[in-house]
């Protein structure tokens, strides 16, 4: 039983990181109906910007200043990227089908990938932000030997939880959030009440950039910042299908379910059929979901009046 709990908690915690990447997709999809293929590239860019700026500042300044400075630099970069995307990609494609916009984000993904590596380098960079790396053993009273937790995962979960809380408050309680939800619902009507559409794009891409930064820092702490982090985005797709493309809670729950599911499947089913199922388990779950529940667990059902 102790082992089962340990695998479950480990899976849930690694699922938090999937949730973070999926969140970036959700905010953009919600507000503009576009699946942003470049979300993975934005994670890479945010990570590289942070790591390199921190390393540069770390040579002259104390540790915490270099971390804060690195974060500030990366935030600035992501907002600038959001502005450039709005100015040079989205505004040019106003009123095009969402498929055209999706194609544009594929192009954007390559541009961001290459430019960020040209600007910040293409090696593997370790992220050091002072998160303790020692494993933690909890619940020793309950189970023999306790439950072993990865402390990086635990911190990631705490930070992700705070981020989600901020996002929920932002979308549900602020005027800007209300405007963004209105745009998500009906572009034309939003325009008719005076909400400027390009402004909402700038906001939403900046928010997605900040989420990408959080994901980059936390994943980077585990595996370092490198090009392969782009493929993280692929893992977010089954999460989105499971949780629903338009739901913030859906992205969280979907991530947790996929994370826990693939670890449990690997350990308890994988041993029966030779292992290695962790890599495709999520996609099979997504496929099954598409067949029986296509809008996902928390996806918006279309309101249709008869």
């Amino acid at each position: 039983m102790g082992f089962f709990i340990e695998v479950l908690i480990g899976g849930l915690l690694s699922g938090v990181l999937y949730s973070l990447v999926a969140l970036g997709f959700v905010v953009i999809f919600k507000a503009s109906g576009v699946l942003n293929f470049a979300q993975g590239s934005m994670v890479l860019l945010a990570g590289l910007a942070f790591v390199r700026a921190q390393a540069f500042l770390g040579e002259t300044f104390p540790f915490w200043i270099s971390v804060a400075g690195g974060l500030a630099f990366a935030v600035a970069i992501m907002v600038i990227v959001a502005w450039l995307v709005e100015k040079f990609v989205l505004t040019r494609l106003i009123n095009q089908s969402s498929l055209s916009l999706f194609m544009a984000t594929i192009g954007l993904a390559f541009v961001i990938d290459e430019l960020s590596q040209i600007a910040f380098g293409s090696e593997v960079y370790a992220v050091k932000i002072g998160i303790p790396r020692e494993p933690i053993i909890v619940l020793t009273g309950l189970f023999d030997g306790g439950v072993l937790l990865n402390s990086v995962d635990l911190w990631a979960a705490i930070i992700a939880a705070c981020l989600v809380l901020i996002l929920v408050v932002f979308f549900q309680k602020t005027g800007t959030g209300l405007a963004l939800r209105a745009v998500a619902d009906d572009h034309a009507a939003a325009q008719s009440v005076g909400i400027p559409i390009p402004w909402t794009w700038l906001i939403i891409w900046s928010v997605a950039g900040l989420i990408a930064l959080a994901a980059a820092v936390l994943w980077g702490t585990k595996v370092g910042i490198q090009y392969s982090i782009v493929f993280l985005a692929m893992k977010a797709l089954p999460v989105l299908i499971l949780g629903g493309f338009t739901s913030i809670p859906g992205a969280i729950v979907g991530g947790l379910l996929i994370g826990a599911g693939e670890k449990l499947a690997e350990v308890f089913i994988g041993s029966m059929i030779g292992g290695g199922i962790e890599y495709w388990f999520a996609y099979v779950v997504a496929l099954i979901f598409l067949m029986i529940w296509p809008q996902g667990l928390f996806g918006e059902r279309l309101i249709e009046r008869i």
Binding site: N95, R181, A182, D186, S192, V193, G194, I195, P196, E300
Partner: protein, 282 residues
């Protein structure tokens, strides 16, 4: 027809300077489809003016040209001048126009389906910068005008009735403190009793708040009862305009738009041939 004054420059003659004047505009969609062929009209300050016409006549296009929402549908005003409150609208964005006091209620209501009625109303105040207290006061005022909205304030707008959605859309427009509302087909898909209620509220808002209205309608009878002035639009041209009373008395309007014929033509064929002979002079 003799008693109707035809004024091509679109001056309606009521009040002083018009709050809205549209001068000889031409609209082309997709760079090929010519939809409006020189439309001129004027709305006096504090007036209710109606644009009448059948499907595809260009009523919605006229309203969207005024509110600057055409651009997002690949439409372009290629000729003519539109002035709202003394300012030309061609180089302003829709949101500037809303903050200047001209807001459109779109055809088919267009409420935000996944937002509650209350939130829908709040989005209407997006362009306002004069503080929460003032917005709250206006919210209360809107609930006074539409008591049914207060009852449904927590419901998602997608789930309320068509009449309530129309009220929500008008209430949302009122939240921007407009000088003028462009109302596109408020009667669409609604029961006659509800249509009556909606027009009654339009009249009340006009009298109590001094909001000018430009209403595009197919329900000619209803529109002419509440409007003071009307323009009849056919395939992109204004073919007739006049005060609502004059229009109601006009034989052609009776024949084509109100469905009243005093002659003894009984078959549809007669009506058609009559109409063919009687091409509007435009």
């Amino acid at each position: 027809m003799a008693q109707i004054e035809r004024e091509t420059n679109g001056q309606s003659g009521i009040g002083t300077t018009p709050i809205l004047s549209v001068n000889n505009i031409e609209v082309i969609y997709d760079q090929v489809v010519l939809v409006l062929k020189g439309v001129s009209l004027a709305v006096p300050r504090g007036g209710i003016v109606s644009i009448l016409g059948a499907n595809g006549a260009g009523k919605t296009t006229t309203l969207k040209a005024i509110s600057n929402l055409l651009k997002s549908e690949k439409g372009l005003v290629t000729k003519g001048i539109i002035e709202f409150d003394g300012r030309r609208v061609d180089n302003t964005t829709p949101n500037d126009l809303v903050s200047n006091g001209c807001v459109q209620v779109m055809e088919g209501r267009h409420c935000f389906a996944h937002l509650s009625i209350h939130e829908n109303l709040l989005t209407g105040a997006f362009t306002r910068r004069n503080g929460k207290a003032a917005i709250q006061r206006d919210l209360d005022a809107v609930y006074e005008y539409f008591p049914r909205l207060r009852e449904r304030r927590k419901s998602l707008a997608g789930y309320v009735s068509g009449g309530e959605q129309q009220m929500c859309a008008i209430g949302r427009a009122m939240m921007s403190r407009p000088k003028m509302i462009l109302l596109d087909e408020p009667s669409m898909g609604l029961a006659p009793k509800i249509v009556e209620e909606i027009f009654g509220i339009v009249k009340t808002l006009n009298e109590a708040q001094g909001v000018s209205f430009l209403i595009a309608e197919q329900n000619t009878n209803m529109a002419l009862r509440y409007a003071t002035y009307g323009y009849i639009l056919e395939t992109g041209r204004i073919v007739l305009d006049g005060s609502a009373d004059d229009l109601r008395q006009n034989e052609d309007v009776k024949e084509f738009y109100l469905g009243i014929a005093d002659s003894n033509r009984t078959s549809f064929r007669d009506v058609k041939s009559y109409r063919r002979r009687k091409r509007w002079l435009a």
